[in-house]
């Protein structure tokens, strides 16, 4: 790790003037410190926001759920209101990482987690790090994208944001010009030639709150891993819906770990909207969700895996 100046701030207002291209906010540190150890980022100043008590809360009211950006994944998973009314989010937080990481990692930081691609993390000047070439595209790509959205085929690694997209959550972001509200679905974008990150936060901005509108009647998060306890997702699915008279309404289906960002499966949503979702319809929705997917050389398994996760999540949500 390169040397840096470490600054503790006491509240969120002190943070903004300190943020620029040569500084980084530090919350849980579970991704920032590995990125610094790997030399991928080397801030001159690290702004420790962990003591900003005004960013750590969970508040449920008639307007929905307000989550301070410093809320840990563990706090999110254990909160009774989140578990009851925003189940997909609690499940995604519970399965996001090991107990120690969930004690440390924050929801704001989780939204900003960078790609876990081994070329990006390793000793390669890959496209996502500003280079010319995505080494995974024609290299080892077992864990990579099946929906091609940019020159990079790394997948967005975080679990809770897919659940947040299914719940149509918004982020409150502050910067020098004040605050802006942006849907999670717009905040997470594939990287571009000018912006080699998996999100659209400017260097002088900070996520301060996640707002989740009043929850649908049911939601679920399913995650496939290559070992029984914790690992990054091979694929995941978040589904939210209102079940009335045995039919599913306002269905939201989001696929995780299959592209540079979580993806809404709009055609599959349309197929099941207003329907009584039978196992056969759930199966067809899975096929529809994956119709545009294309496997890379080493990840063909992701197609049936993701297809079946969609079908299973829809069956689960109908079962209640």
């Amino acid at each position: 790790m390169q040397p840096f100046i470490h600054i503790d701030v006491a509240n969120s207002e002190e943070v903004i003037p300190l943020l620029d291209a040569r500084s980084r906010p530090l919350a849980g540190g579970t991704d920032m410190l590995p990125l610094m150890k790997e030399g991928i980022v080397a801030p001159e100043r690290l702004i420790n926001i962990k003591r900003a008590g005004d960013l750590r809360y969970i508040r449920a009211d008639e307007d929905g759920l307000h989550i301070g950006a410093l809320t840990t994944l563990d706090e999110l998973d254990r909160h009774p209101d989140v578990r009851r009314d925003y189940t997909t989010l609690a499940q995604a937080a519970a399965e996001a990482a090991s107990p120690q990481l969930r004690n440390m990692a924050t929801l704001g930081g989780n939204l900003l987690q960078q790609a876990r691609c081994w070329y990006y993390r390793g000793d390669f000047h890959c496209w996502l790090k500003g280079g010319e070439l995505c080494h995974a595209r024609d290299g080892r790509n077992e864990y990579h994208a099946i929906f091609d959205q940019s020159p990079c085929v790394a997948v967005y690694p975080s679990d809770p944001p897919a659940a947040l997209m299914a719940l149509e959550a918004n982020l409150r972001i502050v910067g020098p010009q004040g605050a802006r509200l942006v849907p999670v679905a717009e905040f997470l974008q594939p990287p571009s030639a000018e912006r080699r990150t998996l999100h659209t936060l400017a260097p002088n901005e900070l996520i301060v709150e996640v707002h989740v509108p009043k929850g649908p009647s049911g939601s679920v998060y399913l995650k496939a891993m290559d070992r029984a306890t914790w690992a990054y997702a091979l694929a995941s699915v978040a589904v939210a819906a209102n079940i009335r008279d045995g039919r599913a309404h306002n269905v939201r289906i989001v696929l995780g770990a299959v592209s540079n960002r979580p993806i809404r499966a709009l055609a599959a949503e349309e197929l099941v909207e207003g329907q009584l979702i039978t196992p056969e319809l759930a199966r067809r929705a899975g096929e529809t969700a994956l119709a545009a997917a294309r496997a890379l050389e080493h990840n063909h398994y992701k197609l049936p895996l993701t297809r079946n996760l969609v079908a299973q999540a829809l069956r689960d949500i109908m079962a209640g």
Partner: protein, 164 residues
């Protein structure tokens, strides 16, 4: 607003109930401070990236990876390492249970395993086997002593009984 570094700065840590004075750069991890500056080598350096759990310690009773924790951020917090569990030469019930249930082979991951189990039982004194498996998911054992580890944790939970 408090500023440290980039050069060394004097901080006070509370480790296993005792104050410790160290001079560290902000980039010094808690793990390196414990091992190099304080000679407490129970917490192990293995992956250094928060994947394996060998560096697990308790900070204010919460299990964290000390390789992903900066020492300067631990001022005013109570740090517990494996060296702090035994009292007056008597092993902690969890340590004793690890011995009795053969919950280790090479032993390198054991300090982290014991502290992860300690945090698990503090929150959930009577866990089911499934809860032990989930609660210990942040600690890898390359010798594969998982069966013994699970039995040791369950047995220690029975011995200590439900906490009031």
């Amino acid at each position: 607003m408090i500023e440290h570094g980039p050069h060394k700065t004097a901080i006070t840590l509370e480790v296993n109930g005792l104050p410790q004075f160290v001079d560290v750069e902000p980039r010094r991890t808690l793990l390196d401070t414990l091992r190099i500056d304080l000679g407490l080598t129970g917490a192990k350096l293995v992956c250094n990236m928060g994947n394996c759990g060998a560096c697990t310690v308790l900070v204010d009773g919460v299990a964290v990876y000390s390789c992903l924790t900066l020492a300067v951020e631990c001022e005013g917090k109570a740090i517990t390492t494996i060296e702090g569990l035994a009292q007056d030469g008597v092993l902690h019930p969890l340590q004793q249970a690890f011995v009795q249930h053969d919950a280790l082979q090479c032993g390198f991951c054991t300090p982290g395993q014991v502290l992860a189990a300690h945090a698990l039982l503090a929150r959930n004194p009577q866990p089911t086997e499934a809860e032990v498996v989930a609660g210990m998911a942040g600690n890898l054992c390359r010798c594969g002593a998982y069966r013994g580890i699970i039995e040791a944790v369950l047995s220690a939970a029975q011995q200590t009984g439900p906490q009031q």
